[in-house]
Assembly symmetry: C2
Homo-oligomer: 87 residues x 2
Amino acid sequence: MPVARVVVDVMLKQEILDPQGRAVQGALARLGLDGVADVRQGKQFVIDLAGPVTQDKLALLNELAGSLLSNPVIEDYVLRVEESPNS
Amino acid sequence: MPVARVVVDVMLKQEILDPQGRAVQGALARLGLDGVADVRQGKQFVIDLAGPVTQDKLALLNELAGSLLSNPVIEDYVLRVEESPNS
């Protein structure tokens, strides 16, 4: 059973054009949603770990989130540790 | 300036195989992260609205999140309204 869940949100940097987000923004407006100022589309990774998140593991997770899970040239990431879904 | 931010997380249903998540799980393990029990990869939409989120708007947002932003046959979504980033 997982005892820790780590969620990594990856989003294009604000200064990078996001054509997918722009397309969604247009579609939302056409489907009747008023006042959409901006839409950004990103990725989300939900990582379930079998053990507790130690400091070493957290450091490695941050390193991997900034290299494997995101492209640091064009993307930012936010990493958070959540309560276990099963405990 | 946006006065409300709505975040929609879209994730494959638990019973649907997630090959991208599985690939990331393998890569994390190869790169030295022990005890990864599961990885799921999803999408995240960050929607900035120019006005407040009224009940009508929230209902429409939920409808669109369940049809335009996600495929209800294979995906679940979670919608949350966040504090304005600028207020």
